[in-house]
Amino acid sequence: MDEAIKNLTTRKSFGKSLLYTLPMFLLTFILMTGGRPDFSDRSGTIALLTTFLGLNILYFLMHYTGKTDKFRAILFIVFALTLSFTLIKNTIDIRQTMTYSQGDILECNMPFCHLVIPMLILPAAFTQSIIYPGSILGGFASISAMVVLWLAASVTLGRGFCSWGCFYGGWDDGFSRFRKKPVIRKISDSWKWMPFAVLLMVALTSALALAPTYCDWICPFKAVTEFEQVTGIESAAKAGIFISLFGGLVVVLPVLTKKRTQCSYLCPLGAINTLSNKVTPFTVKIDRQSCNECYKCVQVCPMFALTNDDVKNGNVSIFCTKCGKCVDACPTQAIHYGIKGVPANRMVKFSRNLFLFVSFLFIAVFASGSIITVIKSIVNLFI
């Protein structure tokens, strides 16, 4: 058994890890600099190099230590924090406030985010138009660019988007790591179907109202990005809902349960991404022969994607976001990244290397812009 585990370990030597990092090093450098590095701005150069090195050190450590989740989570949480900062900074630069007015809506000046996508589908099909008051192409966070990024990530990573691309998921993920042990342990597994109910509700109401109802009334992340200026009872009620849902589902419940409760109970895009897990070639596999049924994977899964029965059957459910927490926690390496069609316990290293490259490249380039913005702002305070 020990020999088998040794053979399966995804840890690599220092040199081999460097070699595996080299393609990421080159690609991220080209993509982050646009192929034409400009070092004329001092704070910009410091921010660019810090981000670039930080990202590649994380990727190197994933190979060197054989662990995934710890290093993914650092980047994922930093992405969430820096993106919120960048969004708020942009909003304040343009509007001098974190709130948006009805004028901004009428002028279609609203930055687009991927959580709007579930509300666009029915109106786009029936009215051949987009109901979100944003920019179709060009400008900050255009609808076309965000849809392309989400589509590509969903096809390649499936629900992996929720752990390797969603710039809101990092908030949940971060708060779910606050305590060592959960205070609330028993949570009904059936709650994981809730996002489908939310999806149905927001898709229908948005189609009927021809307005993005989730953004208008529910989205907890309005609390850390931008929200409607409070001018009356309705806007005050909306602000109350945003803050309550953020406090409850993104802060308090993740701390108490060690689960990503907003992602698991509310997010309508999470429901769609669950279905995209059927498309992606990447998955998490359980090798029944090496599994000792300790169920550590079930305990650590933050997304209700694993039950004891799933482990006994050797299946990971479609709710999996491929965060890697179960993979890292498994004492026998029975659970690992895999490719569909390839049996469990075969091509383990190849599958992990391929998955890590695809998923890390996506988040690294996606996150780099906001990380650079934040570091540059910090550096500018001192220069």
Binding site: Q128, L137, P281, F282, V342, L354, F362
Partner: protein
């Protein structure tokens, strides 16, 4: 069959690897391509509707948009018409609007920008009330709720 599945899985994974590498290099052209698709245009509920009339005034331009009654499956009984003022706008606006272009005024809208007060005088029974009256980066905009004449 298993070997076929395995090969197909690996090929699909490699295709995804290629897709991810070209994604960021081609993001601009992919986005531009997507934006050309027929459904990639703003719904009138978001954009305010097509511009129907533009009237040059002393220091600003008054833009009256086409009435919006769009619903998911057809036209609704209730809708709105959006009016924009752009340029050097006076502190008190008082304009007569003919949104259906039948050469008879439909409503008179008075806006006191300093006190953020709006007054609507309906001259057409289909005019209901003011839904939104707000400042914009270029001036001022108002949406007036109306009934569909059809």
């Amino acid at each position: 069959m298993n070997k076929f599945k395995m090969t197909a899985g690996i090929i699909w994974a490699l295709v995804c690897l290629l897709l991810m590498i070209i994604l960021y290099f081609g993001l601009g052209s992919f986005s531009a391509g997507l934006a050309k698709l027929p459904f990639m245009k703003l719904n009138p509920h978001a954009s305010g509707g097509e511009i129907a009339q533009q009237i040059a005034m002393e220091n600003c331009t008054l833009t009256i948009r086409k009435p919006v009654f769009d619903g998911l499956f057809g036209e609704r009984k209730k809708g709105f018409v959006q009016v924009d003022w752009r340029g050097n706008i006076p502190e008190i606006i008082n304009d007569t609007i003919d949104y259906n272009m039948d050469n008879s005024p439909d409503f008179v809208i008075g806006i006191n920008r300093l006190e953020d007060k709006v007054n609507l005088v309906a001259l057409n029974p289909n005019v209901r009330d003011v839904a939104i009256s707000t400042s914009t980066s270029r001036g001022w905009a108002a949406r007036v709720n109306i009934y569909n004449e059809k």
